[in-house]
């Protein structure tokens, strides 16, 4: 059964990759959007946001932020994809097959996680083109990307639960936006938190997006500037804190999602 649980999941993942080949527009648009963000922030806000660190361009600060924002939004694709599968009765068919009960959702999150490899690579190149220069050596940069992929995978599980809980793909899209947008903007991703009201700084520095951004900045060779929480453990160990967040997210959402899938029925 374990053997099938893995191979069933991979077949579902393969289905998603096949979709990308059959409808390449999806891949093109899911990479254009983050690249657009890179360009917009770099040239529209870049001139007026101070990094707070002498000699460091805004683009160095921005890139980790945009990477994290992009992988955080992985769950949008997951939620919308599953909501569509439900609407079209595909989930019913999967549920009537003698396959492992977790294969469909694992396959989905793996596939969405894998898509991030392409998206991050394209964004990295776009960042390089506009002046992003990580100064920490290849190993640390790759480690940073590994963290980003893992974060995307963890967030995809939140998307599974949303996708299986809403009535339609359109609702899924709206729900995801409400859930993730504040998280990415009430963070250190695009502007230093030191300019925010004190009370907000706690949230903006301890939220999982922020600890991820801070962790990635460190891995890419940049010091992250904290406000009120500078002396707290999460801010001094953002990578560890991010890992803890990811474990918590997965520990909550994987069992909930699998249960939801088993008990759900669609139309």
């Amino acid at each position: 059964m374990i053997k099938y649980a893995v191979s069933d999941s991979l077949i579902i993942t393969k289905r998603q990759l096949l979709q990308l080949i059959r409808v390449p527009e999806v891949l093109i648009f899911s990479t254009i959007q983050p690249v657009m963000f890179v360009l917009l922030f770099r040239y529209v806000f870049g001139g007026s946001i101070s990094t707070g660190i002498p000699g460091v361009d805004y683009v160095q600060l921005l890139m980790p932020g945009i990477f994290v924002q992009t992988v955080a939004f992985t769950l949008a694709g997951t939620a919308v994809g599953l909501a569509e599968d439900m609407q079209k009765g595909l989930i019913d068919r999967f549920r009537s097959l003698p396959i492992s009960r977790s294969a469909v959702v694992f396959g989905r999150t793996l596939g969405d996680g894998a898509l991030n490899i392409v998206v991050l690579a394209v964004m990295g190149l776009a960042g390089y083109a506009v002046g992003w220069r990580p100064s920490s050596g290849l190993f640390n940069v790759l480690l940073g990307f590994a963290f980003l992929l893992l974060f995307g995978f963890a967030m995809a599980w939140v998307g599974v639960l949303i996708g299986l809980s809403v009535r339609s793909a359109r609702v899924a899209n709206a729900a995801v936006f409400i859930a993730v947008f504040p998280l990415t903007f009430l963070s250190n991703a695009f502007a230093p938190t030191t300019g925010m009201p004190k009370a907000l700084q706690y949230f903006a520095e301890w939220n999982p997006v922020s600890t991820m951004v801070a962790g990635c900045r460190e891995l890419f060779g940049l010091q992250n500037i904290f406000g009120v929480t500078a002396n707290s453990w999460p801010s001094q160990n953002p990578l560890e804190m991010s890992l803890i967040y990811m474990v918590i997210i997965m520990a909550i959402f994987i069992p909930l999602s699998v249960r939801k899938y088993i008990n759900t029925a669609s139309k």
Partner: protein, 405 residues
């Protein structure tokens, strides 16, 4: 025979015994276990007369198990559903209200009913997608509630909507589903090729499903449910939404499968479809089977075909006489719509006879037709009311809410 109510002091005692395991016993429970459980839940020892009732209950339970066993060994009943109840919205909406049916192996049962009668809910329970609130069901002798995994290995399901991945090609879909049925990669390719051939989709194999016609989608969906040659196939309204040509194509495909000996449970809103495809028909309404029989038996109940003639008011009397002669049955004259109708058994011959007689008398009818009984006619004959569609919308909404919980 002892009246159980008299032996047990209150109906409440009976309820406790139900909990103890008579109404819903473990399949492996021995008589001793049931007795002990019952004594414990009643909080007192069992008296002699109680034993008799217990042994009867035990027998009833064994009977159920034997019937399930016969299905696996003797291959008699491929599907048994007993007293299925399913409610949504905390019991406010009863989708199934004690539905029982069975399908003999190698035959086709058509489940006929209007929207919201409980057809889809029945199929979903038998295909292990949802569990009933109470009642039992076996498919190929396997209990759908206790052993859903095993049921999934022997069934094929094709729902109301073509449940295939629209962005992928027909080939992609069939190879994917074959792999999910745990065929090897090479066997999957072989099977996908065979099925595409069988369903005349070979030319469209490399095209995304998005480009398929409604009929092609349904055929591909059906193909996907046949990958492992299931013992029992569930088709939920296989032709709803198809144009007449697509419907006839689908019928041919299904008839081909039946010829190969597949046991089929098919739901439909169309009497004509059940007539074409099913050996036996179960008519359901409000979550219950209200009539069962072959198509001929049902039609006899409904009255078969009717000859209907609309004529000018002054001719109605003469037309009624002609219709009466041709039919031999009860003639209904509706003055308002100037329509005369009566049941006929001789089909088109009755029509020709009527036309000749009208012509001889120089009467020119405004309309003349031979009407086959519709689902509504069946319903009016069986229940005295037309199939209620409004109720169904309520039910569907409730089902959706229920599913999202």
């Amino acid at each position: 025979m002892i009246n159980p109510i008299k032996v047990f002091e209150t109906p409440n005692d009976l309820a406790k015994i139900g909990i103890a395991g008579i109404i819903n016993p473990k399949p492996t429970a021995t008589r001793k276990e049931i007795e002990v459980n019952t004594a414990t839940s009643l909080g007192r020892s069992l008296k002699g007369d109680l034993n008799l009732i217990l042994s009867q209950a035990f027998l009833a339970m064994r009977n159920w198990q034997e019937r399930a066993k016969i299905t696996t060994i003797g291959q008699v009943k491929a599907v048994i559903a007993e007293n299925l109840i399913k409610t949504y919205d905390k019991g406010k909406v009863r989708a199934l209200d004690g539905l029982s049916l069975d399908v003999e192996e190698g035959t086709v049962l058509g489940v006929l009913g209007p929207n919201g009668a409980g057809k889809t809910t029945t199929v979903r329970i038998l295909a292990t997608l949802i569990t009933p609130d109470s009642g039992r069901a076996t498919v190929a002798g396997i209990d759908v509630i206790k052993d859903p995994g095993k049921v999934r290995e022997v069934i094929g399901l094709s729902g109301q909507y073509a449940a295939v991945d629209e962005t992928l090609t027909g080939w992609d879909n069939l190879t994917m589903f074959s792999r999910l049925y745990h065929l090897s990669p090479s066997a999957s390719k072989k099977r996908a090729g065979e099925l595409l051939e069988q369903f005349s989709l070979t030319d469209a194999a490399k095209r995304p499903i998005k480009t398929y016609s409604g009929g092609m989608r349904r055929r591909l969906d059906l193909a996907a449910s046949l990958i492992v040659k299931p013992k029992i196939l569930f088709l939920d309204e296989p032709t709803t939404g198809l144009d007449p040509r697509g419907r006839i194509e689908m019928w041919e495909v299904i008839q081909g499968l039946v010829k190969d000996g597949t046991t089929l449970l098919l739901t439909t809103q169309y009497l004509e479809e059940a007539d074409q495809l099913a050996d036996e028909i179960a008519v359901i309404d409000h979550g219950k089977v209200i009539a069962r029989g072959t198509s001929d038996q049902l039609k006899k109940e409904v009255g078969g075909e009717r000859l209907e003639i609309v004529a000018e008011a002054k001719d109605l009397q003469q037309v009624a006489e002609i219709v009466g002669k041709v039919s031999g049955g009860k003639v209904v004259v509706e003055e308002g719509s100037r329509q005369v109708s009566a049941p006929v058994t001789t089909g088109s011959r009755a029509l020709i006879e009527a036309v000749r007689s009208l012509d001889d008398l120089g009467i020119h009818p405004l309309d003349i037709a031979l009407k086959r009984p519709s689902l509504d006619d069946v319903f009016i004959a069986l229940t005295g009311h037309v199939a209620e569609e409004k109720k169904s919308e309520e039910l569907e909404a409730a089902q959706k809410r229920g599913r999202r919980k």
